[in-house]
């Protein structure tokens, strides 16, 4: 089981309030991603759940048990760190076995579990190496191995992929998702990368300045952002915003249109602009268009859309795809 409930969790470092009071419920077996810009408090929140930081006030419950004051090891959680945090003087085998040794399991049980974890994570051939002799991806797998042998009620991941190169990040992302399907254990994953959040999560928690801006499934957040922050943070390239004369026809203070929800034409449309930089990805092209009164607008078009720098184009937002926000930045529905 791995049901985690936060009630009015508050954290201050001295006079600085990092987390002003958060209520959150994480269901057993869920893959939850905490996402937000750096300094938003997502790592602190994870460390509060882990027990590596003490809460200033509020309670944390795991499966109905109040663990607010419990030591990290007593919470039944396992954590994978950004720096991997492997024990450099121990072999891969001993790294993975370490939590089991601390739990005083007998040798044969430890051996069996380590072998099984190594098999799942493709580490069988590396068991006798030291962490220093492994690549970044392999190290990360050892860190995950060390977490899974404990059979925790939940896994905590603190930006585990940010030290890897882009290609490896993609592979590891899939591996972690696959692992979640195999183990069906609650996972809490912290990242600043909204692509990781979108692709891996069952539920995303968007954090900003210690506050939860919105909680929902990836598509929920994409289609129905509660406010300007979530609208701007989720989705890549980010949503275009316009105010004033552009938003007035929609009865809103601000409107937002995603780059993929703009129709482009060289003849006619609602807004007109001049093509700036074009980013060709092959399948798609991102056009950055200067529109008088809005500024730079990003539009996503087919890979072979034939315009070049300096051309005049017309943009038309898809009906029903325009997000409306009031003067406080909250969504109007």
């Amino acid at each position: 089981m791995g049901n985690i409930t936060l009630k009015k969790v508050n954290k201050s470092f001295g006079a600085t309030q990092v987390i002003p009071g958060i209520d959150l419920n994480i269901e057993d077996g869920e893959f939850v991603v905490f996402v937000g810009p750096s300094g938003c408090g997502k790592s602190t929140l994870l460390r509060l759940i882990a027990g590596l930081e003490d809460t200033t006030s509020g309670t944390i419950e795991i499966d109905g048990r109040d663990v607010t004051g419990a030591a990290p090891a007593k919470r039944g959680l396992a954590m994978v760190f950004q720096s991997y945090a492997l024990y450099p003087h121990m072999s891969v085998r001993n790294n993975i076995a370490f939590p089991l040794k601390m739990a005083k399991l007998d040798h044969s049980a430890i051996d069996k579990k380590v072998t099984e974890a190594a098999r799942i994570l493709n580490l069988t051939n590396y068991l006798d190496r030291r962490p220093g002799q492994l690549s970044g991806g392999q190290r990360q797998r050892v860190a995950i191995g060390r977490a899974i042998v404990r059979e925790p009620s939940a896994f905590l991941f603190d930006e585990p992929l940010s030290n890897l190169d882009a290609a490896l990040r993609g592979t590891m992302r899939l591996e972690i998702s696959e692992l979640h399907h195999q183990l069906q254990t609650t996972m809490i994953y912290v990242t600043h990368d909204q692509v990781e959040a979108m692709t891996m999560a069952d539920k995303i928690v968007v954090l900003n300045a210690g506050n939860i801006e919105q909680v929902g499934s990836p598509l929920d957040l994409y289609h129905r952002p509660d406010n300007l922050f979530v609208a701007g943070f989720i989705g890549s390239p980010r949503m275009n915003f316009a105010t004033g004369e552009f938003s007035r026809p929609y009865n809103a203070h601000t409107i937002g249109v995603r780059p993929e929800h703009l129709q482009l034409s060289t003849q006619s449309g609602t807004w007109s602009g001049v093509v700036g930089v074009a980013e060709h990805l092959g399948s798609d092209t991102f056009l950055h268009i200067h529109v008088e009164g809005i500024g730079l607008v990003t539009a996503r078009v087919g890979g072979d859309f034939g315009v070049s720098h300096g051309d005049q184009v017309f943009l038309t937002p898809d009906e029903g795809r325009v997000h409306r926000f009031n003067d406080k930045g909250l969504a109007i529905r």
Partner: protein
């Protein structure tokens, strides 16, 4: 072309390094050479070729007991090093892993005590030693050497401990290690190389310390530094004997340094080169 230039550069640097090394080592070399000369040879002027006589060594042995100051040197340097580690490991530990706003100031203050010339406190220290009956005692001198080297030991250990990432300790905590489990299985194995090279360096520093060891001892607690000094005595200077005594005094530490040079170099450049 570029290759030729770089080879020439490498050669130039190699020669320069050898010259510097020779200049640094020359006093030791010349001491050793002189120790194999007779007294008449020794005062005759500069010569790199000794007659090879061992009469000075024999003379030194018969005139004075080498073993006692040698044992004193061992006891003082090892004793003061262990005492220094006993104090500095917890001190450096707490400063590295739970620093406060004042940690940097405390470290600076410790280092600043090394900036004061020792002679400035000679009289008060001498009087304290006299009043507490610590003059010419191993205990007093061990304590003195500990105090002298403590700032350096703490600084070295502090830089070592700082290199141990905090996340590893947190990982151990998550993995269910108790405080002692954390110390025994994770911290100590990672800190041992650092503690070892600090220990080596401190033994060398304590072995060679001459200001206090000569001034605060006469016979009982006198280490090898005082043994050397005793050969520049009222009868006049006997260069060959003095050199023989010096060679005997530095030989143990030179041999130890030779065998542990890898550790020492690592210890001294730690943090600077990664």
């Amino acid at each position: 072309m570029a290759r030729a230039v770089s080879t020439r550069r490498t050669a130039a640097f190699t020669i320069a390094a050898w010259i510097v090394a020779l200049i640094i080592f020359f006093p030791i070399l010349y001491t050793i050479i002189t120790s194999f000369k007779s007294e008449t040879e020794a005062i005759q002027g500069f010569s790199l070729i000794p007659s090879g006589t061992v009469e000075s060594y024999v003379e030194v042995q018969t005139q004075k007991d080498y073993f006692k100051p040698f044992m004193n040197s061992v006891i003082l340097s090892v004793g003061s090093t262990l005492l220094a580690l006993l104090i500095s490991v917890p001190a450096a530990w707490s400063m590295a892993f739970s620093p406060t706003k004042k940690t940097k100031d405390v470290l600076m203050w410790m280092l600043s005590t090394k900036m004061m010339p020792a002679v400035a406190v000679l009289v008060p220290i001498y009087l304290i030693f006299r009043d507490f009956g610590l003059l010419d005692s191993r205990l007093g001198l061990t304590f003195m050497l500990t105090m002298i080297n403590l700032p350096i030991v703490i600084w070295m250990l502090y830089t070592y401990f700082r290199e141990i990432p905090g996340e590893i300790l947190e990982a151990a905590r998550m993995d269910g290690a108790s405080l002692w489990g954390e110390i025994i299985y994770v911290l100590t194995p990672m800190a041992v190389p650092g503690i070892a090279s600090t220990m080596l360096l401190n033994i060398i520093l304590a072995w060679n310390e001459a200001f206090w060891t000569i001034r605060l001892t006469t016979t009982n607690a006198a280490p090898l530094t005082a043994f050397i000094a005793s050969f520049s005595s009222p009868q006049g200077l006997f260069w060959a004997k003095l050199s023989a005594a010096s060679t005997l005094a530095i030989a143990p530490i030179l041999i130890m340094g030779w065998f542990s040079q890898k550790q020492l170099v690592r210890g001294l450049t730690f943090g600077a080169v990664k």
